[in-house]
Subunit: 138 residues, 3 copies
């Protein structure tokens, strides 16, 4: 069994942002040399997500509006968690979108359907945050 680990760093200019990280994850996979196995990609922070969906900007706007409806940022006072911090909504949004994805590795590739792409979802940005890529296999 071979294992591989890499951190990817992101710093968004907005509080909320979606970044397509598929090609960075593919680079990790190539670097690992692993042909068959499982790849875990997870946010290392609790106010951001890694998820798989469509690379379509209209859909990303829909996600943003929808998450604001399900877990609104303001008023900050509606959340017990806020006070010293103001990011309770980001914890809830990340819960909807998910912390992690596990992807099959087959013949040295991400074993994806036609439209699957990996995104980093930031919900409390404007600072350096990390994603972990861990691959095991052979």
């Amino acid at each position: 069994m071979v294992s591989y680990r890499k951190e990817l760093w992101f710093s968004t200019s907005n509080r909320r942002e979606f970044i397509n990280i598929t090609s960075e994850v593919e680079s990790c996979l190539r670097e690992s040399g692993i042909q068959e196995g499982l790849l875990l990609c997870n946010a290392m922070h609790i106010t951001s997500s890694v998820f798989i969906n469509d690379n379509e900007s209209g859909l990303h706007q829909d996600f943003d509006l929808w998450l604001e409806k399900l877990a609104p940022e303001k008023p900050y006072s509606q959340y017990q968690h806020n006070g010293y911090e103001d990011n309770a909504d980001a914890h809830l949004k990340r819960t909807i979108m998910g912390r992690e994805v596990v992807v099959a590795i087959t013949k040295g590739k991400l074993d994806f359907g036609p439209w699957e792409q990996i995104f980093y979802g930031e919900f409390d940005g404007k600072r350096e945050k990390r994603v972990l890529v861990k691959i095991i296999g052979e």
Copy 2:
């Protein structure tokens, strides 16, 4: 380390449908011969889900109504993603229900609690779509 891969195909007659795929996944596991490891089962499409819950038809109706409340199909015009397509709600519903499950394999069996069953959740059906089963272990 042994690895195994299979695609399962589904075509539902309704836009939304839940299908119990536990026995198909168990067949994959038997075919793989793997005794100890991890099994990944994921939708290969971004408007459908694989999830684990109860095999109870009342609950499935509850899921359907609840998802329609959280992410209504209509009016189509409420979503930026719609226009050429009309399935933005399916992307959101799949996000709630999840893309994938990872299941422990112990002594050649899905290592499940008493009521755990694996379901394919279709939110934009009436066409051929795929689920991936990948198993690694030995």
Copy 3:
């Protein structure tokens, strides 16, 4: 490849409760002796969750209120699943919070960001329920 399996048991005094299980999962990892690999931790019941978030009591109250808004417990009659049981809301809440987490194991440790902690989320408690820890690696 080495594999390890353990069940953790919980019985909450309330219907809903969050329990920090990070140190119990770390004990499993030490016991396994695995240095590099993947750890799966999942609820074995379909009305409870395992998830990763912040160990902050205000946030946990926010989660509880938020889940009650998205999937209210009462009136029981709003759900088809209820009748013999009254826990349909627990199935929905667990869906939002997730069944499982997959964690990278690196140099014999849970490969976590600074605030990541593992929680058991109970939504239909007051009885014995189980969490599975499965680790593969070497």
